[in-house]
């Protein structure tokens, strides 16, 4: 049919249309659309099609970690389903239908995560939040409006993106008292904080998280001060990655070294390009997900279950 189908454009369009959509869901959704448009005629063609589209998506989008989580999950789903059905037509039909079901479920998972997180927020709490996260926002908003919990929130500024201001604005709209602090004031306020909530770009196999830069130092401070550090996230953000150090993320190390040597004068780019870091599992108290409240080590269990069933 239409050969001019562009996976990247579809993906970006999805993100544009729905501000609440996360990257992995958008990726899965655009892949489902792609399948519907392209109508592959054999299973190998289907698999190749999905593979090539995933590759173009991964390479064309700069920040591909949570995106790749969704893509890998969908690929896994495709591979399992093609083996399941003997009849090609029903297989294809099922794939598209189930793909949509998959997307719907993934969308619901944010609310589910928030549901599990509600008991964690109590009256008179002071909660430190880093950067903007849709799940954390949903959780806090529901705690305020549904449970009528009275708590206050401290949001970090979250350089270089400055998403902390956006988070503060949205929370103020939800009638929650908010205070914005600069990123390097975390140590100053941590004594008065009761708990820390962060979202995640991706959850690594060890149970550590890949998140907005600065999460790692907050994690360290939380550990030293014995403050609980909770991660609120959806299970489709579990990725098959296992970074060893905070800067051990795909593509980020090399860039850091290169820029350090070649573009020393151009310090602007150094400041603005690094948006993610890795917080290893020992700093995380628990992960609040749509599968329930998990310890970091339970993540690998869930991942193994998904991949080796």
């Amino acid at each position: 049919m239409s050969q001019a189908f562009d996976i990247k454009e579809t993906y970006l369009k999805f993100l544009e249309e729905d501000k609440d959509l996360t990257m992995p869901i958008a990726a899965i959704e655009s892949l489902v659309i792609m399948l519907r448009v392209k109508q592959p005629s054999t299973s190998s063609e289907l698999i190749n099609l999905v593979k090539s589209n995933i590759d173009t998506l991964k390479t064309s989008i700069p920040n591909a970690i949570s995106l790749s989580a969704g893509c890998d999950l969908f690929m896994r789903f495709v591979l399992r389903n093609t083996n399941l059905y003997s009849d090609w037509e029903s297989c294809k039909k099922n794939l598209v239908e189930n793909g949509e079901l998959f997307v719907r479920r993934a969308k619901e998972s944010r609310n589910k995560s928030a549901e599990y997180g509600l008991p964690f927020i109590r009256d008179d709490d002071t909660i430190l939040v880093h950067s903007f996260s849709r799940v954390v926002y949903t959780l806090l908003k529901r705690a305020r409006t549904e449970k009528m919990v009275r708590f206050r929130v401290i949001v970090t500024e979250s350089r270089p993106t400055g998403l902390g201001y956006f988070m503060a604005k949205k929370l103020r709209e939800a009638d929650i008292p908010v205070e914005v602090i600069v990123d390097n004031a975390v140590g100053y306020v941590i004594h008065n904080v009761d708990k820390i909530l962060v979202g995640a770009e991706g959850v690594a196999e060890s149970g550590g998280i890949i998140n907005h830069i600065g999460s790692y130092q907050i994690g360290c401070l939380a550990k030293v001060n014995n403050k609980p550090f909770y991660v609120v996230t959806e299970s489709h953000k579990f990725v098959r990655l296992f970074p060893l150090a905070p800067n051990d993320l795909p593509g980020s190390i090399n860039r850091l070294i290169k820029e350090g040597t070649e573009e020393e004068k151009d310090s602007e780019s150094m400041l603005s390009t690094h948006k993610l870091d890795f917080t290893s599992h020992e700093y995380i108290t628990a992960l609040i997900t749509d599968l329930g409240v998990l310890t970091p080590s339970a993540v690998s269990e869930e991942l193994i279950k998904v991949w080796y069933d």
Binding site: E205, S206, R240, L244, A245, S297, E301, I304, K305, Y308
Partner: protein
């Protein structure tokens, strides 16, 4: 059993005339029931082993009785020996020798291990444990046992692989005796072979897992299958097992782990591991990476040297595809381009474990460790010294990675390296202090034979020239002193209060390990039980 007894005892008063009969009748079912209950207790024991067990029990009882009467254990031993010799006049030569060996060993006493490790089996005890089955052991097993005990084959993976290959030979040569089926008899036959194999060295965890798998496979064969066909399917299954669990999983692990070796990085490794050797070769040959490798080694096995020589002997053609020197040494000598991988791409430092200092660890990016087993509490059971390295690197914030196939996963829980370990020969530590070569070992039987000959000589000397003995004693200290100069511990067995401990493995706590790379993916050590669970289900 109780009911039967009750019935017979009820029968007693009713028929007093038949007392003797009823007593007999009472004894018989009781004994039968007793036997049955025993049989159910340890079903795993074969008939033969049962008999042996009973024999031993009887012997122990008799010994106790005799001792009560006043016969010393030494006399008992002598009596027993003479009895045995009478009995076994018809037995094979090897059997006799074995029996003799056993008595020789006990003279030696072997209490030279620190008390905390005294529960572990020494080499002598291992060799003495199953002397009576050597005549039903397949020759291939005999040679394999020898290779194990002389460290010709070391390392969990090579040992597993070789064992499975030998099992294939055993299965091919096996013939089911009359009145039994292959499914029932072969397991027992294999058990005997394994029993003998254990006298070389204790089974590794991976071997235990593979044996369990193989026995299960044998039991799944239907009785109606023809023998030849059953044997063939078993051999095929073993081949598949080797391919799937060792070779392919090694490949997957290598691909996964190679991500952590980047251009210009410094990697540290300890000893020798099959997977890691392949990993380093793969990174150079296939991925064209240049990196530094620090090989840490230790006495007495010097496995790091093996890694070193294997790497040095690997050639590589920078322009074309990689060449393996062992296969194409002639070709490589012709073409000028191919050169050893250590020439440009791989820089190796070789150090001993006691020189592991701050300067060496300064710019290490990553540590790769081999594994003997992963225990279900996330602890790594590996060559002694691994724990030390992991601890040092953890203290310096260097990530410690271990590569481990899932056959090596064990559901055991162990908290220290004392409860279960392997004692190697103490002489390995005493000899070869110049460290030029790994311990050269004689086979155990040969050692015993030499000892026997020497003793015979001595006894002859004693009988023939008792008068000369004192002179000999006087003259003997001088050459001894000379020998002492060269190796001060040569005579260590006669020095009282000197214990020498040569332990094979240690345990690394999970805190020190960042990541376990398996064929199922990379995991934190806390996820080992998950693998065990999922792995067992499939």
């Amino acid at each position: 059993m109780v009911e039967e007894q009750a019935q017979t005892s009820q029968a007693k008063p009713q028929a007093p005339a038949q007392v003797s009969d009823s007593q007999k009748a009472e004894k018989a079912p009781a004994a039968a029931a007793d036997g049955a209950s025993k049989g159910s207790d340890d079903k795993k024991l074969s008939n033969k082993e049962m008999k042996e067990l009973k024999k031993k029990e009887k012997a122990a009882k008799r010994a106790a009785q005799k001792e009560a009467i006043g016969i010393s254990p030494e006399q008992q031993a002598k009596n027993a020996e003479s009895k045995i010799e009478k009995k076994k006049s018809s037995a094979t030569n090897t059997n006799l020798k074995k029996q003799l060996d056993q008595t020789l060993i006990k003279d030696q006493g072997g209490k030279r291990i620190p008390a905390i490790f005294s529960h572990l089996e020494t080499r002598e005890q291992r060799n003495a444990s199953s002397p009576s089955i050597s005549h039903i052991v397949h020759p291939a097993i005999l040679s394999l046992t020898l290779k194990y005990s002389t460290y010709k084959i070391v390392g969990s993976t090579p040992r597993l692989k070789n064992m499975l290959e030998v099992f294939k030979v055993v299965i091919r040569d096996y013939e089911t005796p009359a009145n039994t089926t292959l499914t029932r008899h072969l397991t027992g036959h294999l058990s005997h072979q394994i029993e003998y194999l254990k006298t070389g060295r204790p089974l590794s965890i991976s071997m235990g897992n593979a044996i369990r798998w193989l026995k299960q496979e044998i039991s799944h064969i239907s009785i109606d299958t023809k023998e030849q066909q059953a044997k063939e399917t078993l051999c095929e299954k073993i081949d598949d097992f080797i391919k799937e669990k060792i070779e392919l999983s090694g490949q997957v692990i290598i691909e996964n782990a190679s991500k952590h070796i980047t251009d210009g990085s410094t990697i540290l490794t300890y000893g020798h591991s099959e997977v890691l050797e392949k990993l380093f070769k793969y990174c150079v040959i296939e991925q064209n990476k240049k990196f530094n490798l620090i090989v840490v080694d230790s006495r007495p096995l010097f496995e790091g040297k093996r890694l070193l020589t294997n790497l040095v002997n690997t050639n590589y053609n920078p322009d074309g595809e990689g060449l393996d020197s062992e296969v194409e040494s002639i070709a490589s000598s012709r073409s000028i381009k191919s050169q050893p991988i250590t020439h440009e791409n791989l820089k190796i430092h070789y150090v001993l474990i006691n020189s592991l200092s701050s300067t060496i660890l300064e710019d290490v990016d990553c540590v790769f460790l081999g594994a003997h087993a992963m225990l279900s509490n996330g602890r790594l059971y590996s060559r002694v010294g691994t724990g030390l390295i992991a601890m040092m690197c953890h203290a310096r914030n260097i990530p410690v990675l271990t590569c481990c196939e899932s056959v090596k996963f064990s559901d055991k829980v162990q908290l220290d390296s004392v409860t279960t370990n392997e004692l190697a020969d103490c002489d390995d530590l005493v000899q070869d202090i110049n460290s030029k070569k790994p311990p050269q070992k004689k086979s155990f039987a040969l050692e015993q034979f030499i000892k026997q000959c020497e003793e015979e000589k001595e006894s002859k000397n004693k009988n023939n020239n008792k008068g000369k003995q004192q002179q000999q004693k006087k003259s003997s200290p001088e050459p001894d002193a000379q020998a002492d100069d060269s190796t001060p511990l040569k005579d260590w067995k006669n020095i009282s209060h000197l214990n020498i401990l040569n332990i094979m493995y240690d345990l690394t706590p999970p805190e020190y390990i960042k990541k376990v790379v398996t064929e199922l993916g990379a995991l934190p050590p806390s996820a080992v039980p998950v693998i065990l669970r999922e792995y067992k289900n499939t």
